[in-house]
Symmetry: C2
Subunit: 497 residues, 2 copies
Amino acid sequence: MSKNINKEFGLTVKKNENFSEWYSQVIEKAGLADYISAKGFIIVRPYGYAIWELIKEYLDKKFKETGHVNGFLPCLIPEGLLNKEEKHFRGFNPEVFWVTSSGDTPLAERLALRPTSEALLYSIFPKWISSYRDLPLRINFWNTALRAEIKSTKPFIRNSEFLWQEGHTAHIDNEGAKEQVIKILSIYKQFIENVLLIPTISGFKSNKEKFVGADYTTTLEGMMPDGKALQLGTSHNLGRNFSQPFEIKFLNSNNKEEFVWQTSWGISWRLIGALIMVHGDDKGLILPPVVAPIQIIIIPIYKDQNQELVKKHANSLKNQLSDLGYRVFVDERDEFTAGWKYNEWEMKGVPIRINIGQRDIEKNTIEIVRRDNRQKKLIPLNTVSAEIKETFKMLESDLYKNALRFLQDMTHLVENINDFKLLLDKGRGGFLVTNWCGNEDCEERIKEDTGADIRVLPFDIHDLPIKIGNGAAFLTLRQCVYCRQESNQIAVFARAY
Amino acid sequence: MSKNINKEFGLTVKKNENFSEWYSQVIEKAGLADYISAKGFIIVRPYGYAIWELIKEYLDKKFKETGHVNGFLPCLIPEGLLNKEEKHFRGFNPEVFWVTSSGDTPLAERLALRPTSEALLYSIFPKWISSYRDLPLRINFWNTALRAEIKSTKPFIRNSEFLWQEGHTAHIDNEGAKEQVIKILSIYKQFIENVLLIPTISGFKSNKEKFVGADYTTTLEGMMPDGKALQLGTSHNLGRNFSQPFEIKFLNSNNKEEFVWQTSWGISWRLIGALIMVHGDDKGLILPPVVAPIQIIIIPIYKDQNQELVKKHANSLKNQLSDLGYRVFVDERDEFTAGWKYNEWEMKGVPIRINIGQRDIEKNTIEIVRRDNRQKKLIPLNTVSAEIKETFKMLESDLYKNALRFLQDMTHLVENINDFKLLLDKGRGGFLVTNWCGNEDCEERIKEDTGADIRVLPFDIHDLPIKIGNGAAFLTLRQCVYCRQESNQIAVFARAY
């Protein structure tokens, strides 16, 4: 474990002074990931991967409960298949890795490394689907996607290969597909907000920003501390855009052939990046309890003469808490001081620390320390179960509240393009809620002028995290922020990752 | 579900008449996998993938209990890294897929699609390891390996991309590495024999057949019904063959620098192929209970007038068995007859079927049917829990016994090369246990002459599955089967997948 910890321990920058460097240091010093020599690729270390395993476990259960099954797809896709849905392919073309030979032998047809699996999977769907009885078909894949990143890369946020899940469904009608799109977005939203404790804005993507090949895309957008938006999950209605070129048909109950209606959807390890950014502080990571590989760290505080006794008590407490279902670890290493250990486990974001020493044993007490606000509480040992439960609840509630307050601070109602630019350039970025005419020209010009694009067309403007004013304020936004054309469309702009 | 079942249901060949065609049909008709257009690549369907999820769940738990953690590695490896351990690279060179461009841009350095991750992972180990306190380091990856198959391919047995796990460890001394190699082989053996119910022969690979870059390789070898051996799991002692070129050093407790000692080990979805081959019969798949996605299928037998009642009872039984921890499914589809359903679930290898009809409800009975020998038993409903438990035990015991009997029938003691050839050519193949001088020349010539290679140098000749004779029989094998040179080395030859 000694190498897991940089000899110069602790972060050398503050989160609000050099956010980008802060992020890199947290990833390295908490032992989450390492770069390899190929651009944009990372190795995820066990502590980082354990967070992904917990994300996966939680969502996999939700997917299975709602009738989804898992499968496996190869990571190589013959070029011919990708070309079948032209628009789709063009969207991915510049970032596709191409395999051109095996050993010294050139391949007859180039193989693309999966940027996403629609084309490959849908080429096999006609074999799986023949009747309405085969529908809905709901399948999911936990794998990676590969997209060559030309721009600057960032672990968990922008990588040339990333862990994700991609779900795919086929339905007898558009109603089924529409319901599915929203059902999945709700699962994502519930997970991201209630478990990862990151508030989001949900809605549609604009036509320009939607998934290539979709009728429409729904999205969840989060706000990062540097004022940039991060897309956290998307769910697409593909309509019959793939079923027609791939000839995915079924016999309906009247024995007539129809094309299926499809959806696809995904989240990725970006969620880990979002966690780090949103909750972390100047001492390192802060992990929400459900996805913390270690939820409770116990530090026995001892001298040579009482070492055995204190460690014994620490381990007995560990067993008691493990039996309650918590992930607990006792740090018994003799080569480090208690203070050194505090710093390390704070860096790793363990939500609760318990200190236990000779005096605690004599008095039947323990000290509970919250990672987020570092509040300490001395409690009687026999109340530990209730206290831990309550402490997790408070910590979760506070993490979410703080993140929501920040989101609200960073969401601005804007009426004209000057304010729009001012907020982006002089302010700290954030979400700019404004009126947009619906015209792609305006959307593109705003992007060129300001670097901000439409992140989301919100489902419900009354749910937007705007503190000042209320729903009535939107009544004043009747003209496009750019061309001043009249319109009722509210759009949320931001610069983004 | 209708398309899951071929309209021409049932296998059209017998297992012992056309084994290869039988295998293909089982994979298709049980809904396990499909080919895609690129040679050697398969899609694993949900039913097949669920078997892999159960294999993974079981082994992952064992690995974690024994101190291993999981991580993530990219699937692309820069060419320069692969070249660092020359022998290792040469071993994989002909089967490596090469990525040469991203979009229209050629890459500065070619990237290999992971044939195995030693080179990539070990390039990062120096960052993780500095002191003896960092050791042993035990890490595992559930991912895929890619090796272009030029020869004929077979789902789960020989594919250009396959699901596997690769474990890697680093130790302070060779003793640690040696123990690790055996510990992992024991975990594999316990799982393959006691859970998958496939008996194996365990031992070392010859130098010619060992993993490229290893000091030695240990292996578990199974026997398939067509007389060909199948390697089921391997565990390698890498010595310091990688730590020297990759400069993986640690400070020992005397503060002196040393190179670490390493191991690597893996199993793959070949285990699914082995399951199908060893246990399947002319009605389809037979799955061992622990890895059966559905362990108990309940078939309600009803007419229009009692449909509701019978289905209600079937579901109540289902809930009762689910609560006991079994994976149970009620087949309520009205469009199929009970007989049709029997065939389908037999094809899918569900180990226990329960039939429940009007008479059973009146008499408080149910009928239990074993998949393997199709034995039926009418039991009182209130004994179901004990009966199911007992039936699984008997079925597991019988599957293993049958597989062991077959292995014994197919393992022959051979004293001279004529008998050796005769058994291979006129007989049904199998394991040929004989004496070998230890010379690679003889090994190569035997391979050229007969197509058989050394599968394993057994750990313990007294454990070999030979019915006739006993340990004493080996005393007569004092001369190499090929060159007649005196030797004590017993080797097990076979033609193999």
